[in-house]
């Protein structure tokens, strides 16, 4: 892992463009974006709806291909990566926290976390034990066997954070993690995300327009009309 971190930049984006569609219906979501996140940084990306922040997050998350530009995750340029390389990039480099939690409904809280670990090559028993440890870290050790439907919104997002942290991925991408939570819970959950990322040494990029959590950011980047406006 160390060799990935030696340039000091977890994310380094240069001249990034993303155009959806073609011809008359073409829409440019990102326009010549330069952007970076340092290793261990807790960075927030804000902007109004349609500003391109989710597009940028999707490209960083290796779930969307850029139209042009360079996207370095640590020392790897992912822009020219083949489609079939993307799943292993995601599993090995990135942990995701989604706006809608996106837990697998049929799996218990601990199984949701263990699933990611097992995809990363952990033995089931070890994965289960680590999942319980992570649930303890996020403050809900007693919910290991609960299905997502039996958890509150805050608890689900805690499980989602534990899942994102599973296996200590070097990069965590969070998409509007407080959108479905009340203000107090949102703040609690984001504080916990920041603290865990610090302990794990992970870089975190949070897309949000929730100004109640802006103060938690090491750095706040504003994006508008597909361009970085201010940092």
């Amino acid at each position: 892992m160390k060799n990935l971190l030696n340039n000091g930049r977890a994310v380094n984006v240069r001249g990034l463009n993303k155009i959806y569609g073609s011809g008359a219906v073409a829409f440019q979501a990102l326009k010549d974006v330069d952007f970076h996140a340092d290793v261990g940084e807790f960075l927030m990306l804000s902007g109004p709806s349609g500003s391109g922040k989710t597009t940028l997050l999707s490209i960083l998350g290796c779930v969307l291909r850029p139209t042009s530009g360079e996207v370095f995750l640590f020392d790897r340029d992912i822009a020219p990566a083949r489609e079939d390389e993307m799943p292993s990039l995601r599993i090995n480099l990135i942990g995701f926290v989604f706006q809608g939690f996106n837990l697998i409904a049929s799996l218990s809280a601990s199984e949701n976390i263990a699933l990611v670990l097992q995809l990363r090559g952990w033995q089931p028993k070890e994965a289960r034990r680590e999942a319980m440890k992570l649930l303890t870290d996020v403050g809900i050790p007693e919910k290991g066997n609960s299905l997502p439907r039996d958890l509150s919104g805050g608890q689900r997002q805690r499980v989602a954070i534990a899942r994102a942290m599973a296996g200590r991925p070097p990069l965590i991408l969070a998409d509007e993690p407080t959108a479905n939570l009340d203000g107090h819970t949102g703040l609690q959950v984001t504080t916990m995300l920041k603290e865990l990322a610090r302990v794990h040494g992970s870089t975190v990029v949070v897309v949000t327009h929730d100004n109640r959590i802006f103060h938690l950011a090491d750095r706040l980047v504003h994006i508008e009309d597909g361009r970085i406006r201010k940092e």
């Binding site: 892992m1 060799n3 990935l4 989710t54 997050l57 999707s58 998350g61 779930v63 969307l64 079939d84 993307m86 799943p87 292993s88 990039l89 995601r90 599993i91 090995n92 480099l93 995701f96 989604f98 706006q99 809608g100 996106n102 837990l103 697998i104 409904a105 049929s106 799996l107 199984e111 699933l115 990611v116 097992q118 995809l119 990363r120 090559g121 952990w122 033995q123 089931p124 070890e126 994965a127 680590e130 899942r163 296996g167 200590r168 998409d175």
Partner: protein, 401 residues
């Protein structure tokens, strides 16, 4: 933690363990996901299972009826006790056609390797009913003392009772239809006095039931000349080669056919399948059952994917590949096939017991039972193709929308 990390992208190629444990782990993980998903939505599980059970019951029931009909038409050949048959040249099925000359019987008895040869009379007859009217019979004349060609499956009387003049064995399940027959009942068959001497069970071909009488009595009833017969049954001497005896017989019997029991059975089956509607009728019902099952399972699995599209997107986003998700779907399809087959076959078995009668019996050999889960696994696999296609199109990026 690093001890348990078997493989990551970040490990140097030389440090990587063999891929098989990783692949095995992945399969194990996806198996768990597949099983949890399948049993989580119980309504969908029940709906899909219903489709498989429906397909199993309908196809096996139709197949059982089909095989039952075929077996009814070949049971005489199977139970006659002969290894070889001499049949008229134009014979396509077990029906009295152009008669054989008795010389065929006498020639057969001279062929080395022939242990015994017996004539068999086979033809249509009519029994008059006490209340008026009549019913058709398939009359069979066999010779004492071995009664090769029947009767068999005797449920009342002794076969040697047929030595008594004018006696006949009838089908037990047809007793009411034949005017309340009992042992000792007197009827007219082809205008001749006949006494019921015993009963067989289940000897109902796809046509009039079999009635057995002594050969000479049958000849009188059917008005067959003494130098003619319907078929000649032949037993091969112990140690003799059946094929060689068959060839020797064929070389000596001119103008007629010599067939082994299996050849005669194949001839009859071929005739039934190609020249009658049995094959088309039951075959189309069987295919219809499979098609309906395919559609139900296919739609059910597709809607399962559509309903859980976000979960599949999430699985892709967290690192599952298309082939992992294909494995999930195919495994689910196999589980549906196996559970559906077990329940469906049990239902077919119960149904078979409930409707079993001399007139209708589902014939389901063990091979059909053994093949059903595989056939259903194939059907469910095909049914999951639509869902697989949908899953391939799922973009992991959807989880951010």
């Amino acid at each position: 933690m690093t001890n348990t990390l078997l493989h990551t992208e970040t490990q140097a190629a030389g440090d990587r363990p063999s891929r098989s444990p990783v692949r095995f782990l992945r399969m194990r993980t996806m198996t768990r996901v597949a099983m949890r998903m399948i049993f989580h939505d119980r309504l969908k599980f029940a709906g899909t299972l219903f489709g498989v059970i429906f397909a199993v019951v309908l196809t096996n029931q139709q197949l059982g009826v089909f095989l039952g009909l075929l077996s009814k038409n070949t049971m005489f050949i199977d139970n006659a006790g002969a290894e070889l048959w001499i049949v008229p040249a134009s014979t396509k099925t077990l029906q009295a056609g152009k008669p054989l000359p008795m010389s065929a019987l006498y020639t057969a008895r001279t062929i080395p390797g022939v242990a015994w040869a017996e004539p068999l009379l086979f033809g249509g007859a009519t029994i008059s009913l006490p209340a008026g009217g009549s019913e058709p019979l398939t009359l069979i004349g066999t010779t004492a003392a071995h009664w090769r060609g029947g009767p068999w499956n005797v449920v009342a009387g002794t076969v040697d009772a047929l030595r008594t003049p004018e006696t006949m064995f009838f089908e037990d399940s047809e007793r009411d239809k034949l005017g309340g027959l009992n042992i000792g009942s007197v009827r007219e068959v082809n205008g001749h006095r006949t006494i019921a001497a015993g009963f067989t069970w289940g000897l109902l071909p796809f046509g009039p039931s079999y009635a057995f009488t002594e050969y000479d009595n049958a000849r009188v009833l059917m008005g067959t000349p003494s130098d003619e017969t319907s078929f000649v049954l032949i037993g091969v001497a112990p140690g003799a080669n059946v094929d060689s005896v068959e060839q020797a017989l064929a070389a000596s019997i001119h103008g007629n056919q010599v067939l082994s029991t299996s050849e005669f059975r194949s001839l009859v089956l071929n005739y039934l399948l190609t020249q009658t509607g049995i094959g088309t009728t039951t075959g189309s019902s069987t295919i219809m059952g499979l098609l309906i099952g395919l559609i139900i399972v296919s739609l059910s699995m597709f809607s399962g994917v559509v309903d859980n599209i976000r979960e599949f997107g999430t699985l892709k986003a967290i690192g599952c590949r298309n082939r992992d998700l294909a494995f999930v779907l195919l495994l689910q399809a196999t589980v549906y096939a196996m559970i559906g087959s077990v329940i469906g076959l049990r239902l077919v078995s119960l149904m078979s017991d409930a409707i079993r009668s001399p007139k209708l019996a589902l014939v389901l050999p063990w091979q059909v039972f053994a093949a059903t889960p595989f056939a259903m696994a194939f059907l469910c696999g095909v049914a999951s193709l639509l869902a697989l296609k949908r899953i391939r199109k799922v973009e992991p990026g959807m989880v951010f929308r």
